[in-house]
Amino acid sequence: MRGLHLNDKSTILVLRWLTILLAILLMLYSRKGLTFGTGAYLLGVAFFLSNIIFTLIPRKHFAKPAVSSVIVIMDAGFISLAIYLTSGFNTDFYLVYFFIILIAAMRQELKGSIVTGAISITLYGLLIYKSSPHFYILKTPFLIRAVFLLLIATFSGYLAQRARVYEEARNVVQKKLSEVEEKLLRSERLAIIGQLAAGVSHELRNPLGVLQNCLYLLNLRFKDADEKLRKQLAIMQRELTRSNRIITDLLEFSRKQKPSLAPTNLNRLLEEILSRVQIPERVQVVKKLTDIPTVMADGEQLQSVFMNLIGNGIEAMPEGGVLTLNTGQDDSSVKVTISDSGVGIPKENLEKVFEPLFTTKTNGIGLGLAITKRLIEYHGGMIVAQSIPNHGSTFMVTLPVSDERGACPTE
């Protein structure tokens, strides 16, 4: 449930409605037996109407300082007029000043409450003087009221300020807490997947091994078989390889292997990967490799990272397109950007692509990018995805630069 917020429109309005109620009560039960003229009733109606108008103001406009200043000044005016129209010092309407001071404290804290307190005292004094010129303004009762108004203004402003500070701190802590909670949940989920994966994989690798052996024997036996049979054997082999890849991905994911760091030349690594990956003719590769420092990294892990990103890029362009590899650097990090001009990722999926088991492919289980992200995080780096559907996607990997800086030739 949402708590009562100090700056809330509803709080202010409740206070104003309470003011009206208090005014009515004062009118009904004042022991002085107050008599009201038309002016006082008109004032009451005006205040009532103003409150209805404030109720109708949308919440976002209500928070603006200009609106709150208008409210405070109007309220001070209303009360002063009420005092003026009733019987000056004898009326208890001055009590309502406390309300506007409280409202001001809540809206503008210490500054607002003291200014409102000062305005209230001045107006109160002036109006009492005006309504009964013979009244001696510096008499103790008035001074006591003035001092009380000022004290309440200071105190409420101070409290409001502290409340805000506490609330801000609480919000920060709460935000951090929920972040930690989310991380914990995520890692718990990952750990469960990992355990399950390791267990299932071992159990599946044996039967897959048997199938692989049988297929080998069948291939030997049907070496000279007709094309149809050979084709079916080839399909079996392909599917076996695919099953094995899924299991390898799962195991890779469940593995918590710390990278063994060594100075790594990312440009050279990318060149190596490109020479190993089968790039279809429909895809054109554009390399924009600039001189970047070496990074301390695990070459094998980064190879799997970029291999996966490049593979994804190629898969995203079934109709062909351009795959761009870009390397660059800023103060403390190097950046590798891999962009494709492919089908892109819908906005609603973009946040999920790094989540384990999220996939839109028919032949994957959604661990590729999750593993990629984890490997990059092992290196103290990060990965960001951007995409425009039907125009392509960009994955930017940022890795911290190693201490020993050395230029990394583009080759």
């Binding site: 994989s201 044996n206 039967p207 048997v210 692989q212 052996n213 080998y216």
Partner: protein, 141 residues
């Protein structure tokens, strides 16, 4: 007797998966090896002592003694210390193996190539070393 006799190399396949043993045995037979299968660690150690195979393909996760304990016991005994061992496992966790390792499911062609580097298909018997081994085996029995 210095006369040499050529025979097919004997491979001991140790795996708790009987189907895997049977199919692998058939594949290796086709590749020129004689194979025996056992399905747990304890029998593996016994078979290694009794049959003196020329090579062992050893699964890691098994009942009655896993692959590592079998390997350690083989290395402790002077009679089995020299037998080359190739580990195989469904777990691929990047752990450093003390012997050649091939993870399941393996490509039989790859396995045969690996095995050939460890154990030749044909063994020449009758050398001094071999005779020594035979004599010891005789005493043991």
């Amino acid at each position: 007797m210095m006369e040499t006799i050529r025979r097919r190399a004997r491979i001991l396949i140790v795996d708790d998966d009987r189907d895997l043993c049977a199919t692998l045995s058939e594949i290796l037979s086709g590749a020129g090896y004689d194979c025996t299968c056992v399905h747990d660690g304890a029998r593996a150690v016994a078979a290694a002592h009794n049959q003196r195979p020329d090579g062992i393909i050893l699964d890691i996760k098994m009942p009655a003694g896993d692959g590592f304990s079998v390997y350690n016991r083989l290395k402790l005994s002077t009679h089995t210390r020299e037998i080359p061992v190739m580990f195989t496992s469904g777990y691929y966790d990047g752990e450093i193996m003390r012997a050649p390792f091939i993870h399941k499911p393996f490509d039989p062609v790859e396995l045969i190539a690996h095995l050939k580097r460890l154990v030749a298909e044909e063994i020449r018997e009758g050398s001094v070393d071999e005779r020594g081994r035979e004599e010891h085996l005789g005493k043991g029995l």
